[in-house]
Symmetry: C2
Subunit: 324 residues, 2 copies
Amino acid sequence: MVRTLAAMTVLALASVLPTAAQDLPSWNDGAAKKSIVDFVTAVTTQGGSDFVEPADRIAVFDNDGTLWSEQPMYVQLAFVLDRVKALAPEHPEWKDTEPFKSVLAGDMKGVAAAGMKGLVEIVAATHSGMTSDEFSRIATDWIASAKHPTTGKPYTSMIYQPMRELVSYLKDNGFKVFIVSGGGIEFMRPWTERVYSIPAENVVGSSIKTKYEMRDGKPAVVRLPEIDFIDDEAGKPVGIAKFIGKRPIAAFGNSDGDFQMLEWTTAGDGRRFGLIVHHDDGEREVAYDRDSHFGKLAKGLDEGPKRGWTIVSMKNDWKQVFPE
Amino acid sequence: MVRTLAAMTVLALASVLPTAAQDLPSWNDGAAKKSIVDFVTAVTTQGGSDFVEPADRIAVFDNDGTLWSEQPMYVQLAFVLDRVKALAPEHPEWKDTEPFKSVLAGDMKGVAAAGMKGLVEIVAATHSGMTSDEFSRIATDWIASAKHPTTGKPYTSMIYQPMRELVSYLKDNGFKVFIVSGGGIEFMRPWTERVYSIPAENVVGSSIKTKYEMRDGKPAVVRLPEIDFIDDEAGKPVGIAKFIGKRPIAAFGNSDGDFQMLEWTTAGDGRRFGLIVHHDDGEREVAYDRDSHFGKLAKGLDEGPKRGWTIVSMKNDWKQVFPE
Ligand SMILES: [Ca+2]
Ligand SMILES: [Ca+2]
């Protein structure tokens, strides 16, 4: 009862607080920030025509290029390459076998030439065979020590401060915030709570199949060398329907891999919100869109504005890009 | 800041409250209730050797026979049979085609004779072709009007009051509570928040495949006539690893379909908890275990006590079975 009263006090206080623009200190005043605050105000104003119950305030964020840097390559690709090098002593045959030979030689063109088939082979060789618990420890250890190739900072420092503030702002306004990424679900889960305040169970991503079995006399979930689900493009709405079970009211992305997620989200009834982060800041980050290998953005730039999506200019809308 | 202060007040109040045995009013005092309270006290006592951070306080509940009645048949089976009858006018051929013929004739032995293949056919015919949103409305409408065949009550009144109190007790103690059921994930999600206070996104279950496509010019997630995942037996740890991404510290079930989930949960490091609801109350509910078609319990009864799992006697441990 005491707890209930205290909880009611929190709710009462929360509802009289201003729709805190001060919660987004790294955003410049402008159309992008205004569109965010207007949307959140509309769906949280009790009695308003756009009010949405907290249970249905679902917001989904892409990860690579939306919450953290994806240049010069996806972070998980760096992880995969490091894993090949770490495991190479146990696989002397890799020195003469593609695509491993190219990885070990640092020949990224050779890796790219192996195509999707080669990538699946590399992922199978480096991401399976161990238990889920073991893989979680491998990912945790790697992310704690690996450094971004150009800045030398830990990858978890290469996150976008304005987006982290946006996640907090939404959570403070009763939203349930999920990551919906093409990246590996078990690669992200070990660190998303610490880095973004998004708990492991709120992460949707690509996955490989697993199997329950006894290993050394102990029950374990073991990772198999077989793709289960690719959470990208049309896979994102499918992943959301499966893992979350509700259509989001707000979606945040940066590439055409997010197009269907934004399309499905913003086509729902009632007030909706779609946002694309446009990497147009070559000074503070990297300027790329239509011709990029990672995070190609073309359809979203052409169609997004017609659909009422907010296009964020990193150069103009963000006071600061990375955390201090 | 005001919000932060208020939240801290709640936390402070929560930590000085007694490990509220008054939160489980429908449980008789006894070994089962004591084992629950002892476990929760141990993992929530800051500084204690068994303390678990809230982020890792994951508890998983089976649904059929654990949170609500599964006799005389699984509720979803009643739903499926009703769907066949509702759709029959559009399928005149069903009158002469098994297993639909048996369903329409009310011949449950004929339905059973069609086996798993027949059941998959029925599910494909009744659970696919529509969008996820449409299926959600169908399930919502059905659960609002359907009645239990022997009591005449809505199915959502045939839930176990002591288990509902247990869910609340765990949530009040910082646990994240999930349903992990062999039942259909999209059949459960529309009503679990209202009935159990477990939100849609915390439901793990069996699923069929879906596809993102344009339908009548609108983007939709469409249900396909193909099984995606069976969340039962060894599938339960796999489903937990996929959907939640952490090994639970507490698991609650009632049949041998929950065995692997309890086994995996309780084999983890640190303090763990496993509980089996034993349906031994033929007066207030239905007495069944080793020979039941639905919710067969044999291995759990034999092995559970040796593994330290709590076996709940509905007859002796529960003051009350259903809500008033
Ligand atoms: Ca991206
Ligand atoms: Ca059950």
